[in-house]
Symmetry: none
Subunit: 389 residues, 2 copies
């Protein structure tokens, strides 16, 4: 279904879910279970009428009288946004399943969202197909912003959607890098789409919407709040194959990101930095504690998430030395050779400790490999012309 399709029918699933998003502060696990059991329309009706189990009441009683679904859907439509609901084809049911599974296992605060407000030209199930999150410190260093932009660019170039949180610092640089790389990028907010936060990124969010999506669970007008960023993190983790933490201080959201992603069975990656840098402390802690895998390049990221997804990293071409194929005795003989003056096999044997009979056999073999040369006074090292491929 396309945006607004059933927005005018007050008994539609879309209106019901818009109402429930307004009423319950995410995550609302009891309400999510209640909706799954009764369907959104009946669940919304019973919430309005307060005919709900106590756990659901605790999540909905504070705002149940805010019957603003029509207004919220109209405001969203005016701002070019839509409400994506589980009944829509583009709902990313499979990526979000991990939230349900984790909640069932007793993980707290990772309830499935009831619906998602969205602004942008991309289709949600498409952009979650090959997605990686790039997140990190707002107070990033130049190194952090540069690295984040490089990762965003490289991932976009390789067809990955870059998810982040549209914050200053690492997040913004990741989105910008992805846009520069010509890829889709998705911002998941900890406030309403129309909250205009952060103020300096309104233009960035407009550009993101042109090439991707801006997402939020929060109804129009909801301001940002610290707990909302943490709650939002579960969506970024769920909708991606893994999260890359680019810079993070010792006390930062990075640990929350890692814990959430870990609980959802997603890969956590962290980018190292100089050991003196306060904004790399969190990354180093995650790696050292085994909570995150070190990634130093886009290839590392693809390799890490690829072991779960479909990407295969191309074999790295290690630069080869011409002496790479030599055995230990041949190496010792080669080491002993001078570059100018020749040496007799006997002298080479004495200096290398390799028996002279072996030396006599090794020297012509080295010559065939272009590594030794005969001269008037014996044998010397050949010029490094013959580099192996």
């Amino acid at each position: 279904m396309r945006p607004g399709y059933d927005a005018d029918r007050p008994d539609s699933p879309r209106c019901a879910r818009a109402y429930l998003l307004r009423v319950a502060e995410p995550p609302a696990p009891a309400l999510a279970a209640f909706v799954a059991e009764h369907g959104p329309v009946a669940a919304a009706e019973r919430v309005r009428e307060q005919r709900v189990p106590e756990a659901v009441a605790r999540e909905t009683s504070a705002r149940r009288e805010l019957v603003l679904a029509a207004e919220d859907l109209a405001a969203a439509a005016r701002a070019g946004a839509r409400l994506i609901i589980p009944e829509d084809e583009e709902w990313p049911a499979w990526p979000l399943l991990c939230l349900e599974v984790a909640t069932g296992r007793g993980v707290r605060d990772v309830a499935t969202p009831l619906a998602l407000w969205a602004r942008g030209n991309a289709t949600l199930d498409r952009v979650t197909d090959r997605a990686v999150a790039v997140v990190g410190a707002r107070a990033a260093t130049g190194y952090g912003e540069h690295t984040s932009a490089e990762f965003g660019y490289g991932l976009a170039e390789r067809g990955m959607t870059v998810f982040s949180g549209a914050a200053y610092g690492v997040d913004g640089a990741a989105h910008r890098g992805a846009l520069a790389g010509g890829g889709a990028t998705v911002a998941v907010l900890g406030c309403a789409l129309d909250a205009g936060y952060p103020a300096g990124h309104i233009g960035l969010c407009n550009r993101i919407a042109e090439h991707g999506l801006v997402l939020s669970e929060y109804p129009p007008g909801t301001p940002p709040a610290r707990h909302r960023f943490l709650v939002r993190n579960r969506l970024i983790a769920a909708l991606t194959a893994g999260s890359v933490v680019v810079e993070a201080g010792a006390r930062s959201g990075a640990r929350n990101t890692a814990a959430t992603a870990g609980a959802l069975g997603k890969v956590v990656m962290a980018v190292p930095g100089p050991v003196g840098s306060a904004t790399s402390v969190g990354c180093h802690q995650l790696i050292r504690g085994g909570e995150a895998t070190l990634v130093a390049s886009v290839a590392d990221v693809l390799d890490t998430v690829g072991s779960i997804g479909t990407d295969l990293r191309p074999e790295v071409d290690h630069p080869r030395r011409s002496t790479d194929g030599l055995g230990p005795q041949a190496l010792r003989v080669h080491e002993t050779l001078g570059t100018r003056k020749g040496k007799s096999p006997e002298r080479i044997a004495t200096e290398s400790g390799v028996p002279v009979a072996r030396v006599r056999a090794i020297l012509p073999a080295l010559e065939l490999d272009g590594l030794s040369a005969r001269c008037e006074s014996g044998w010397r090292r050949a010029r490094e012309a013959g580099r192996a491929p």
Copy 2:
């Protein structure tokens, strides 16, 4: 015994070992076993007379006529050096035992040294008591040299002896840092004590000798060579609780250092750096591949060698000889390991369903039990052969 004590007696163990060090290029596993069986004096006599098994002959025939023990000991004495032999009280028998154990397990090129040329005021068994190696690239960046010096200083200040290789770059900075921190530091060379290599570090080596030791297996006059640095690395690994790699390029000795230390059951640590830095690539690869633990501070190093390092001393009689004693997670990890190709901890985690942090802890434990082995591509199952009853 003190330096020169029995140097004048041609049938003394010291003269015998000085002769054997001159004759055989280390590592000489057959000769080491031959000496262990017959004692140094009888072994030296039989080498001179060529009455030795073929394997020993291969290691000694090229130089067996160089009967220079008295000359070498005299030259050393003139230079203020001594030959430390296993018959001396200061011989670090316990730290070096891991070389014998590893050789017995089939690890190549880690034979026990026959003796060690030493210059300096420290006592060898004392300086190996609480020792950490700090090693890395010769072509270090300012960041690498600074970090190395900081680590050397901090470790020395906390009473650790800093081992390194006296090379330019990271090694030199580590020694200088340790000296500045008022601690003992030990340089292990890949050439003779009198080779004057590297030329710019002659003064540094003199200062090291005042506060620690300069060590070498190589008899007077032996020039440096690439294979000698690799062979030397086993001594640095054996004589320390763990090795810190500060900077290392993609193709560097770091992999050798890590492989050697790993084979000897020692902890390998690596310092991260900016992801764009070519001299941090090797460190990041080691951490990412699970071959090294990330250390971002001296506290991290002490934590790592303190909790794992001392426990990792090889045990000759280990009680666990099969998978019988393993817990359920360790069993699942072991089941996942292949017998030939290595797998990354991440892949093992994915395949076994055991969290990657647990996998990282389990793999070294399995290694101690002789059930897993490190290889270039990660971890594989250890061969069941060679298990003593």
